[in-house]
Amino acid sequence: MQLHAKKKIEIVVESACAKRLIEMIEKAGATGYTVVPQVAGKGVRGVRDEAHVSDLYRNVMIVVVAQADVAMRIVERSQPLLENYAGCVWMSDVQVVRDAHF
């Protein structure tokens, strides 16, 4: 089977910032994204595991698979948006089956 090299970006961010990031991701040219609505873990801002009454302490994960140039654009544009929020971004190499979908 023929596989195609793509980049995968994962962004873990507090939910308050998620909407702006998703708008940016779409503008940057990604064809789609996946959101994990609640994730828990520990980062430089301490343990975040709470989602209660208000969504203030909820973290979400946004996953995007895209071509290398689009992926780079997303990573660059994500940085100013994350300035005042708890969030981290990482990128990795992945392979997909359907080239035209990403």
Partner: protein, 321 residues
């Protein structure tokens, strides 16, 4: 004085307050007791539906007079102006940057629905009636303070984006409160008879379970003295007293009953911890959320629940009784 004390003790020994205390204790002791998020959100929707609906039904029994309109306008005015007072007070007693002060101040102009609901439960238990439109006043007081907070922070006009305004003015709690109020008003006594088993009987029990959850949540959000500072924590106690005093004055001007006066003090003295924090996090991201959530949820909410409500009631009974 002894009357106030006995009233305070009587208030502390209600199931509502004791369940809140149980939640606080369990949270501090790091018990694994927890209420699933979906259940907690469901209960808060139930409480808003019930309180809104009952207010609307009550209003349908009497004609709307000019004083109702005056009361609603005054509620908006209080919510809009309290943040200025809070922000000035914070400038005097703390060295916080303007963004933090503005964000905290916005919370104190807005209201806590749960504090209000708990106060109404206390009034019902004592068979004290209150003006039904207080519920509508509560719904209207949720958001003006957000606008004030953003105006107080530098670059206010940029922060007041259209999306944000859409979000806060159509936030779920406002839509449900005003919507249920409207449905109660339209359907009146017949509507009440139709759904009383749902909105009346389980109300206090569900409030107990919800307050247990609030206790657990509060225990985890108690501010750390080393990070917050004694002056800011003191602000979390003094500001509700100032707000409540303004509420008492407003209630006297409006000529409200004892129950209405007590609730007006609760409205002006309570601080938001759901709608406003979410709006501040989006619109003033530079402000530290640990400060404003720690204060409104960790200090002011338990203070109002344990001390404020009985105190406001005692004063209301003295003024309007």
């Amino acid at each position: 004085m002894s009357h106030v004390l006995s009233l305070a003790v009587a208030n502390l020994l209600t199931p509502m307050v004791l369940f809140f205390a149980l939640g606080l204790l369990a949270g501090r002791l790091k018990s694994d007791l927890s209420i699933p998020e979906a259940v907690s959100k469901g209960m808060s929707l139930y409480l808003m539906l019930a309180i809104g609906f009952r207010g609307g039904v009550e209003l349908s029994h009497g004609a709307i007079s000019g004083s109702v309109v005056a009361a609603l306008l005054l509620a908006v005015l209080i919510s809009f102006s309290l943040p200025w007072l809070a922000c000035t007070l914070l400038r005097i007693v703390t060295k916080l940057p303007l963004t933090d002060r503005a964000a905290i101040a916005a919370h104190y102009g807005s209201v806590s629905v749960v504090t209000f609901v708990t106060a109404t439960a206390l009034l019902v238990q004592r068979e004290v009636s209150y003006e039904p439109y207080l519920v509508a006043m509560m719904a209207l007081m949720e958001t003006p303070a957000i606008v004030s907070g953003l105006l107080l922070a530098r670059g206010g006009s940029q922060r007041l984006s259209k999306e944000l305004m859409h979000e806060v003015f159509l936030s779920g709690s406002i839509v449900l409160l005003l919507g249920s109020f409207g449905i109660g008003w339209l359907t009146g006594g017949a509507g009440q008879a139709a759904i009383a088993p749902f909105v009346d009987q389980p109300f206090k029990g569900i409030l107990c379970l919800f307050l247990l959850d609030m206790g657990l949540l509060t225990a985890r959000r108690l501010p750390k003295l080393s990070e917050t500072g004694a002056m800011l924590i003191a602000f979390g106690v003094v500001m509700p007293l100032i707000g409540a005093s303004i509420g008492l004055i407003a209630a006297t001007v409006l000529g409200l009953s004892v129950g209405g006066t007590c609730l007006m003090a609760v409205l002006a003295g309570s601080a938001s911890y759901i709608v406003v924090p979410a709006a501040m996090r989006t619109a003033i991201p530079e402000a530290n959320p640990a400060l404003y959530v720690g204060l409104s949820l960790g200090v002011t909410f338990p203070f109002n629940l344990l001390v404020g409500i009985p105190l406001y009631y005692a004063i209301a009974a003295w003024i309007a009784g």
